[in-house]
């Protein structure tokens, strides 16, 4: 490295000494002090709702982890720093975590600008950045300390396309997508897959996250005369589009990405989301034991509230972190190496999650084809709507 001079060396050795002192203290208190994870995410600002959902999933997972004896006898805890999903704040948080010897691994951030701006700092500082909602195709290319359990859109969108085209028999599609890195990547994968399956994509419309009025967009959609609408949306905008589509008299089949899977989608959409089809990673009556445990535990902890996709992502992420720590211990490099070693971790999203060491992502998300019936998510019975 060409940028090391004597001062940094002096300071570096000072830091090492301090870290050493901290380490011996930590060793003494090993059993008492919990292992600490850093979380960088939005608690205030426009994305605050997602940070709140993360916390719910984390806390539930922690309860279960502790009930099962913790990490080799030690407790696990997290320190949640609010970044507002702002890159300026996430880089400061990254330095904070990197220079805090108690933090063994980092989770987050939420948005791509905030996460990927912090990646170089985590990579150079040798602290794992475990992004569990980071679907940006370049996220894990930031370095070998970037790992992600976010479902790759290259995996998810062909499943949705198959549902819409092969199973529901839609031939001419209108795609409405959030104009973000996630929405754009998803749209491209979806359109490619839908064409391969023989459907025509008549129109694609990207909208910004703050958009609330879709009437004019829906006129464009109507004029393209599709037989199905594809929503690559989150639950709040997805519900708005479905409502307005029905209000302006569009009666076509609506098929939505798994990110709308939330009780809020039903609440916000009301009658308009009846018969909306969606692919998801799990569903309420899912017979898989890990899903049953997750849903039952979640309802018990949060007054009967139904969990949604973001709750599941964060729940899975905390369980994955625990599995990694059980192998890797508390050494930051060993933790990075442990990501390549964990096998078949029980997961709501994947069933069994194992990292692909090459891409540092997990492949093979579970898939369930749901439809909204009588205000509830139900497994699609194959009957046309």
């Amino acid at each position: 490295m060409s940028n090391i001079d004597r001062r940094t060396l002096v300071r570096g050795s000072l830091a090492t000494m301090m870290a050493g002192a901290a380490f011996s203290r930590a060793a003494l208190a090993q059993s008492a002090e919990p292992i600490l994870l850093g979380v960088s995410g939005p608690l205030t600002g426009p994305n605050a709702q997602y940070g709140a959902q993360w916390k719910q999933g984390f806390d539930l997972a922690l309860d279960e982890i502790h009930a099962a004896g913790g990490i080799n006898g030690r407790k696990l805890a997290y320190q949640f720093e609010d970044s507002q999903s702002d890159p300026r704040q996430s880089v400061a948080i990254a330095q904070k975590f990197v220079s805090d010897p108690r933090i063994v691994m980092e989770l987050g951030d939420f948005s791509s600008p905030a996460s990927m701006a912090a990646s170089p700092i985590y990579q150079r500082g040798g602290l794992v950045q475990f992004g569990f909602t980071n679907s940006h195709p370049d996220f894990t290319k930031g370095g070998d300390f970037m790992w992600s359990t976010s479902v790759s859109q290259a995996d998810e969108q062909p499943l949705l396309a198959s549902y819409a085209v092969k199973r529901l028999g839609l031939k001419k599609l209108a795609v409405l997508h959030l104009n973000t890195d996630w929405g754009r990547t998803s749209r491209d994968h979806f359109v490619k897959a839908a064409k391969e399956y023989g459907a025509e994509v008549a129109v694609t419309e990207g909208y910004i996250a703050e958009e609330r009025d879709f009437r004019s967009t829906l006129v464009r959609v109507r004029d393209a005369s599709p037989d199905g609408l594809i929503l690559i949306s989150y639950y709040s905008d997805g519900a708005l589009i479905a409502r307005q589509a029905r209000q302006v008299g569009l009666k076509q089949t609506i098929c939505a990405a798994s990110s709308v899977y939330s009780p809020k989608f039903l609440e916000l959409g009301g009658e308009a989301v009846e018969d909306v089809h969606l692919g998801t990673r799990y569903f309420p009556e899912d017979p898989r034991p890990e899903v049953k445990k997750f849903i039952a535990g979640f309802k018990a902890k949060y007054n009967g509230q139904e969990p949604d996709a973001f709750n599941a992502y964060s729940y899975d992420a905390m369980n994955m972190a625990a599995a990694v720590l059980k192998i890797g211990g508390t050494d930051r490099r060993a933790i990075r190496d442990a990501f390549a070693k964990v096998k078949d971790v029980s997961s709501v999203i994947y069933g069994q999650a194992t990292f692909d060491v090459e891409s540092r992502r997990v492949k093979g998300a579970m898939n369930a084809e749901l439809v909204v019936r009588k205000g509830q998510f139900a497994l699609w019975d194959g009957k046309p709507t």
């Binding site: 060409s2 609010d82 419309e205």
Partner: protein
């Protein structure tokens, strides 16, 4: 084509929704010449009070409306009494900043009380739909139109034909004269804030019912669109605000029709800029009317700047320069790097807004131009990053000045609104011009800074680099301010007519200020791009522009040292409040309000 009828109807429907906010903004602007950035927050509060009434208390619709109106009016009165009245005799910019602080506080309070999750706000009207063109409208559309038009009409009658209404208009025209004529100015203000807040609250509730969805992020969007509609119609003109809103809705709808959904807001903000350039008083204010802004420099109050001895500054710079040699954590260094980067932006803005009097609310656009230029130069043309950053600065200076030049003939608040729109336009162009900017995917893998073949990777080296760049820019700016040029800038700010009479070419000097300011901001953006390695259209957003303006006002307009001190304070405070987690932005808002209240001329005073 029947589609065009549908686009027209849809445009009118959404314009109808915008009108509710715009009318309240227009009313307040009409009386106190203040763009009330807290109006969107009152709208938010109204929506959540409506939710409590409908979902928890099961009140019938008429009662819900009364409850929401009354509660929102109380909020408005509190804002007027405790937030704005104490600032009556201070700088014109202080109330503007206070409303921004109040909106932070209100939004955070709502978020903390109700959680940030969106909620459904069911409509209490029967669900019948009437066929209109290719689509349908429901009773709620009619109710919203009814409320918008009736309130505009009632306000119009009130202002024209009642005693209190006359008092309101007299106060708007000349506050001191009205006071001498025995008008109780405070009572007038109270009445106006109460009415505007009641209207804002009810509109938030109705719009929430309309979309069956309320969330805490709705406030900023409502304010933005409301401000655009209001200014298009003619600031302070209540019927104009309604027509401006409908026009805005139509333009957006046709924009979607012609180019697609992602161009929608581009059309909205272009409409604003075009109207401001062609008819700066708005479409419906006659040209004969006296300009709504004062002619001379009351926008920025003169004050005696705090004198800081050169030795103290030297010691401070030396102290900060030596900091990385001490065992401070990288977190502290990174926070200070953020402060230096914000400091460069603040230097730029304090020159343009403070020294030149052009209060810009779209300054983040200059960061974005610098960042994208520098990132693309180094990635696609393999320009060394040091040179690329300078290229970013130059591009920002050139393009920024060019973009802003149509607004050179505007004054006061109108400059702020035009620059706000230009900032949004830049961000939307970045989003949509995919062949160059890679659109929403953004630019990743931007190489780190390097200088003469050495990579600046360690936090200390980036720290030293950004500190050095900022100090050089600050010294240059200090030199500029004490020169002939700086005096000409201030002359134009303080009295542009006198300056013109003296033979100063306004446009040329404004261009010079923006060229220098654009360069500093572009450099800051360029460094940020190489530091983050990934940028997209959201990296440099409106919040950055508002933060920069807050820094500048906090430090003292035009004050170079103040801009830097303000940056350190406003980057540092939220970090210090980290311990308060969800409450930190609330605390930040309160601190901001207290500062505006007790030191409106800024910490170090205006120069």
């Amino acid at each position: 084509m029947s589609s065009w009828l549908d686009y027209t109807i849809n445009g009118l429907i959404v314009g109808n929704v915008y009108a509710l906010v715009a009318v309240g903004l227009a009313l307040i602007f009409g009386v106190s010449r203040l763009i009330n950035f807290a109006q969107g927050s009152i709208y938010l509060v109204g929506a959540y009070i409506g939710w409590v009434a409908v979902v928890r208390l099961h009140t019938p619709l008429p009662l819900t409306i009364i409850v929401v109106a009354a509660a929102a009016a109380v909020v408005g009165l509190i804002i007027e009494r405790f937030g704005l009245r104490p600032l009556q005799n201070s700088v014109r910019i202080a109330p503007l900043l206070a409303t921004i602080g109040i909106s932070f506080v209100l939004d955070q309070l709502v978020m903390l009380t109700f959680s940030p999750n969106p909620r459904a706000l069911p409509s209490q009207l029967p669900d019948v739909r009437f066929q209109l063109g290719g689509g349908t409208i429901g009773p709620l559309d009619l109710l919203i139109a009814g409320v918008g038009l009736t309130s505009a009409l009632l306000l119009f009658v009130f202002l024209r034909y009642t005693k209190l209404g006359w008092a309101v208009r007299a106060t708007a025209q000349d506050r001191d004269a009205a006071m001498q004529m025995g008008v109780d100015v405070n009572r007038v203000n109270q009445a106006v804030f109460g009415i505007a807040a009641a209207l804002g609250g009810v509109s938030g509730m109705l719009v929430g019912m309309y979309y069956n969805q309320i969330d805490t992020a709705m406030s900023l969007q409502a304010t933005l669109k409301g401000v655009v509609a209001e200014v298009v119609g003619g600031a302070g003109n209540v019927p104009g605000a309604v027509i401006g809103s409908l026009l805005l809705g139509l333009v957006e709808s046709y924009g979607v029709a012609i180019l697609g959904t992602s161009y929608r807001n581009l059309f909205a903000f272009l409409l604003l800029v075009v109207v401001l350039v062609l008819r700066p008083n708005g479409l419906f204010v006659s040209a004969r009317q006296a300009p709504p802004e004062p002619l001379t420099g009351t926008f920025v109050a003169p004050s005696r700047p705090v004198h800081i001895p050169r030795l103290v500054l030297l010691v401070a710079v030396a102290g900060f320069a030596l900091l990385p040699l001490f065992p401070v954590s990288f977190y502290v260094l990174q926070t200070l790097i953020n402060a230096w980067l914000l400091g460069m932006l603040a230097l730029s803005l304090t020159l343009v807004a403070g020294t030149m009097g052009q209060v810009s609310l779209g300054h983040a656009a200059l960061l974005a131009i610098g960042a994208y230029t520098s990132a693309l130069l180094s990635l696609t043309l393999a320009v060394p990053t040091g040179l690329a950053v300078i290229g970013g600065g130059l591009m920002s200076a050139a393009l920024g000045t060019l973009l802003i030049s149509p607004s050179f003939r505007l004054r006061g608040h109108y400059v702020s609104i035009a620059t706000l729109a230009i900032g949004e336009i830049v961000s939307l162009v970045i989003l949509n011009w995919e062949s160059v900017t890679r659109g929403p995917i953004g630019i990743s893998g931007i190489p780190p800074l390097s200088l003469f073949g050495y990579d600046l990777i360690s936090p200390s080296s980036v720290y030293w680099f950004s500190l050095a760049v900022m100090v050089v820019l600050a010294l240059l700016q200090g030199r500029l301010l004490s020169s002939h040029l700086g005096r000409s800038f201030r002359a134009i700010r303080d009295d542009d007519i006198a300056a013109r009479a003296y033979g100063l070419s306004l446009n040329r000097y404004k261009s010079l200020a923006f060229i220098f300011g654009g360069f500093a901001a572009g450099i800051s953006g360029g460094i940020a791009a190489h530091l983050y390695s990934y940028i997209n259209h959201e990296t440099f957003n409106t919040q950055q522009s508002i933060l920069a303006l807050t820094v500048v006002i906090l430090g003292g307009l035009g004050n170079v040292v103040g801009a830097i001190a303000g940056s350190v304070a406003l980057v540092g405070l939220p970090e210090l409040f980290r311990i308060a987690a969800e409450y930190r932005i609330l605390i930040y808002g309160i601190v901001l309000l207290l500062l505006v209240r007790f030191r409106p001329q800024g910490l170090l005073g205006t120069i």
